[in-house]
Amino acid sequence: MSENTGDLLQPLEKQQPISTGSEWTFELIHRYDEEIAKCAAEFGLDTYPNQIEVISAEQMMDAYSSVGMPVGYHHWSFGKQFLNTSKRYQRGQMGLAYEIVINSNPCIAYLMEENTLPMQALVIAHASYGHNSFFKGNYLFRTWTDASAIIDYLVFARRYVAECEERHGVDAVEQVLDSCHALMNYGVDRYKRPAPISAAEEQRRQKEREEYLQRQLNDLWRTIPRKEEIDAEHKRRKKRYPLEPQENILYFIEKNAPLLETWQREIIRIVRKLAQYFYPQRQTQVMNEGWATFWHYTLLHRMYEKGLVNDGFMLEFLQSHTAVVYQPPFNSPWYSGINPYTLGFSIFSDLRRMCENPTAEDREWFPDVAGSNWLETLHFAMHNFKDESFILQFLSPKVMRDLKLFAVGNDDDDDFYRITAIHDDSGYRKLREKLARQYNLSYREPNIQVWNVDIRGDRSLTLRHIPVDGVPLGNDTEEVLRHVHRLWGFDVHLESVDDGELVEDYHCPPKQPVADE
């Protein structure tokens, strides 16, 4: 029995093309969506209901600048983003055509009015069925985000921030937001599942929280102990606070910073919640784009097989598709790293190939995949992985060869780069590990955690950085520490500790050099 596409799908009867021109109408978008939905159902794509919004180019720029939030609080950084986007768009350096899709229920996708009909169909297939099914199916999204609550939460956040601005002034709020944004990547729980966010719940609990929090804080910073007590305490146990290092720095500050006012804690919380909402997206870029690209490709080909679209349509569609998955080589002036669309699309397509037409190499490398039911295998991959583990699990020698991947080592002490692995027998495994690691967020971002608070002393906060492979912190570090200091309200220290040895330390306010007597 051969596992062929045809077996899974309804027998074909050729139909008339839905349309032949390239101008779209709402009527036609409806028709295309209907047919794409039918095809998606044939492949078992499970999606949230769709909401497709047709918008103008200017509105698309608005959407771009609010980092994918359909409703956002006001902040200058979004304005900066907007200025940048509109400038690049006007100069023609950037097409806007692609898509923006919101992980919400219903799943909101934006279509630009300038798009031709084939482009609209591509975006619908890509966003409303590809991304949408990914949001609904992938374990990270299922665990960490609540698609049905996000819009309400955003509305709540926007209103709360606006109220704060009214009460405390735009500048005061902006300062807190600036500091929170600087630490946004350190405002997520990586391992612990957070409570899903819901606006109604947030509002209900917000008052409660205000009271509790203050009480708790008073506990922590209770009366200053007498000198003897401190010494005794120190001798008895040299305990740190917190007992275990805390990875969620914003959370720690929200709950423990001595001087923050309640509204400031609430704003930290809002930024934290948003960071958490976006966290799965940051970990599944390759998979998410690869999955969506694989499905726009597969769904529109299915439409073509059914006769619902004609050759002209396919020609235009394929041209856009090719542009999307183009990977410039490392020495091209257009090279800016690995294109996540290309990598993801290649892996998913190759998974299907391995299922349908396995080679001896595939059977050796992927005994479980080779010859299996491709739809089940792809869905399994989509459901249970993130970029790092997905690449580690499914990047095949063939894809490495096709993309001609190679790894370059750069040691600070050497005056040369060394090619450490290429797409050959001895290199595949190394390449795969190295590439997978590149997508590990905790490798991409410095590992910095809350290490200690001097509760009984000067209330200073100490963060600890554990370098990986001797890579030091970048030149923004002092600047970010100023933000930590602003939130914490007392001295802040940051120590880079490599293998138990202090290699670098930062302080805010900066340490005065001790003058010699």
């Binding site: 919004e53 902040h75 934006y110 410095p446 001797g470």
Partner: protein, 431 residues
Amino acid sequence: MGMTHIVDRRLNGKNKSAVNRERFLRRYREHIKRAVADAVQKRSITDIERGESISIPSRDISEPIFHHGQGGHREVVHPGNQEYVAGDTIPKPPGGTGRGQGGSQPNPDGEGMDEFAFQITQEEFLDFLFDDLELPYLARKSLKDVESWKYVRAGFTNQGIPAKLDVVRSLRGAHARRLSLGGARRRKIKTLETELEALRAAPAEQDPAFSHDDQIRALEDEILRLKGNLRRIPWIDEIDLRYRQHARLPQPATSAVMFCLMDVSGSMTQMHKDIAKRFFILLYLFLKKNYKKIEVVFIRHHTSAKEVDEEEFFYSRETGGTIVSSALKLMHRIITERYPPGEWNIYAAQASDGDNWNDDSPICSKLLAEKILPLVQYYAYVEITPQDHQMLWHEYEKLLPLHPRSFAIQQIADPAEIFPVFRQLFERKAA
């Protein structure tokens, strides 16, 4: 299927980012102001009225985050290998041990550029340009010397003429008054009526002192009395009447006229005129921001003065001597004929290289002091010369202490000074 909802959002506002954009401009106000001031000096004369591309050093607007620095050991996977095999080494480019913070780091904000560049509109350009500047003593003029008034609604009052009676308001007040005055009685009536009902339903108890019928009668009387009371509450009363109130607000004159006076005698070169022109343009734009309607009068003079159009004003050449007072006389005549000071805010800027017939200069300052300064908001004299001041300047100088609010003189030697001088002339003065 069928679950898709398609929405046309195009009619929704497109300026969702306007507030954020405004926040950005606000935050980088100082940067932008500097860039705008630079731009004014560089721009050509005809071209002041458009937006501007502003550049801010990227590092000033970066949003810092913790990230890896250079150094240590790292490995990166790239696509598109052509010739390398494992173990190959490639020498690092000289000077690039990887340390240092060279500008080659790709930057998501500026596409690897060191500058963050963006456009501001003409409106914003002018806002930044004239930030901190104020029309000289405009407030004084508009509040004290107002000549025209405007009536605006100012709520309601309980006194007025019948023509201004507001029927709806009055009736509403009456209704409320009736409700509040009658409320207690109506409640009382209600209770009594229930009591009465109960009493009637109850079996007649024999109470010799207060018989059943008497009790009923007493209640009925009381109810009747209360109802009579209720009826006596007037349906509408004097105190219910409300009249629309209007307040007389001073209506500052919204038109301004700007007089441009320029010496076009042989000693004025094209360079002088260009500087003068830029100065006039600044003044014009500045007034335009503050008045709905502006008229411009161009007066050029050598030994005699003439009202001309803009083209002729700036570009025709003359020779000969200079009699400044001719222009002042003409200006005064035009004001009296066409621009009654009660209706117009009058501004004047006079540009000259300072040359004048010596006999004429005292006449000028006399004319100014007696005839012109009392009529105008502001009169600015700019002397375009790198040399020492001449007679006219010294004459004008004497007027300064007498008219500190409406008269100013400044010297410009170089195009770069136009804007600073302009600023100085119009700087917001502490009240």
